[in-house]
């Protein structure tokens, strides 16, 4: 009798553990899906930003020097593989340098299509800022979940790669000038 009770207790405990584990695994899976979704949104936002920067560069609204600067930075950002974060940060810095020219908006005001293009670029840049926040937020949550002892012992994450944070300088607000140094202030790096 005692043996039967012991067996029943063990079976119930195993069942509870199984349910708990599967619930945990499901949660982790959902987190990974959230990371994937956020990454997709981030990639889309970055692509939209670089496309719009290229469009502005090719629009003929700007002087050729500014155009070449923007086109180069945007093109680098789109084609960078391993150095994506650096290249996207560089695009941010190029955009910041362009937008913080004295009287930049005043000089463009009234030119055909200028308002729309600048508005779209700013909204694209803001989208990058938001998408990156949400992506890094999802990554952080996933890291915490993956680090729980149960998840580690039972390898609940399976073969899903551990997602990495995406760290770039994405603020379009003019930063403080750093005197005679050749480097721009690094905000997030």
């Amino acid at each position: 009798m005692a043996l039967l009770i012991a067996i029943i207790i063990v079976v119930v405990m195993l069942a509870v553990l199984g349910v708990y584990t599967s619930w945990r695994a499901g949660r982790l899976d959902r987190l990974h899906a959230r990371v994937d979704g956020a990454r997709f949104a981030l990639d889309a936002a970055l692509l939209r930003r670089s496309s719009t920067a290229l469009e502005l560069a090719a629009s003929g609204l700007l002087d050729p020097a500014t155009s070449v600067l923007l086109a180069g930075a945007a093109h680098d950002a789109r084609s960078a593989q391993d150095t994506r974060e650096l290249a996207e940060s560089d695009l941010t810095r190029a955009l910041r340098a362009v937008f913080s020219q004295p009287d930049f908006r005043a000089l463009l005001a009234g030119k055909d299509g200028a308002e729309e293009l600048l508005g779209e670029l700013e909204s694209a840049a803001h989208q990058v800022f938001l998408a990156r926040k949400f992506y890094n937020d999802a990554v952080a949550a996933t890291h915490v979940a993956r680090h729980r002892p149960l998840a580690r012992v039972l390898r609940l994450a399976g073969n899903a790669p551990n997602p990495e944070f995406f760290e770039i300088d994405d603020s379009l607000a003019p930063a403080n000038e750093a005197g005679p140094s050749t480097d721009l202030p690094h905000l997030t790096r």
Partner: protein, 374 residues
Amino acid sequence: MRVGIVCPYAWEVPGGVREHVSGLAEALIELGHEVSVIAPADEDADLPPYVVPAGRAVPVPYNGSVARLAFGFVSAARVRRWLKDGDFDVLHVHEPAAPSLSLLACWAAEGPIVATMHAAMPRSRVLHAAQPILASALEKITGRIAVAEAARSTLVEHLGGDAVLIPNGLHVRRFEKAEPLPGFPGDGGTLGFLGRMDEPRKGLDVLLAAFSQLAPERPGLRLLIAGRGDAAEVMAQVPAPYRDRVVLLGQVSDADRVRMLHSVDVFCAPNTGGESFGYVLVEAMAAGAPIVASDIDAFRRVLRGGAAGELFRVGSPADLAAAVGRLLDDPAHRASLAAAASAAVREFDWSVVARDVVRVYEAVVPAAGRVAVA
């Protein structure tokens, strides 16, 4: 001739292109031409009389590093006014593909435009991306000059057309004589390095490794380094017992640079690439320093395939240490290398180079008339 020269990079920041522009301008003035240079610089900066400031340069990421450039509508307006006031016979822009004043000048001007290409740019993607924007400005250039074969091939590959090869110049006589720094070169031998300490392509880490190999056997050997960068980071690469034999001068004035070159027994140029000409090397040659340099294309050409300086395998500390060791032990060979370098460097003297540039001016002016504002 009235010559208008455009420098795309900040005047206050030392660099190859900026040195080239000031050297050329001064040599042209010496030859009797009237010269005006426009460059990114503060209004109240201390400038030579021939430089017109175009306003403060903005640091931006460009072509893999951070450059200080002038762009935008305000800069464009200043270039236009300078062109109008200057009434030049010929306009000479430098590095016209860089997003700065040179490109703006090409855009605004018509008539005889000469352009000098400096950099070898393996990063052609930038040029491709900006091709349509660049093309309309660059098409106006009537005569193209490249300072080195690498710069010429970049031009041919990416923009089509061809260019005359005219090397970078320097004022040889400014380098020939100088008082060595106090206590140098000394009895134990001194190695020299000139350039940014934190730019990996300058190859300082290769030299530090070679020095660490040589130091135990040569108790008097010292290493003299002039250039910007983090001193602690450099010292961390040298074993502790030899650190007091590494002397860091930091960024030095033009005069001290020459003195530094006269303070060494062997000048080392361990660059791992990215040099299209090798200005540092030519300076060392003019100062009569025996040279050991990386076997990269630009250096091999400047050193006449090794006749005017020893070449070692790129990036190999052991090879560098061996070459330096041989030279330190052989004063006669050092002297003959120095003499060969002094002779070879003549062709890079501005008096020679500027005449070649004037010949290009003379070739484009008759066909294209005067410089006008478009």
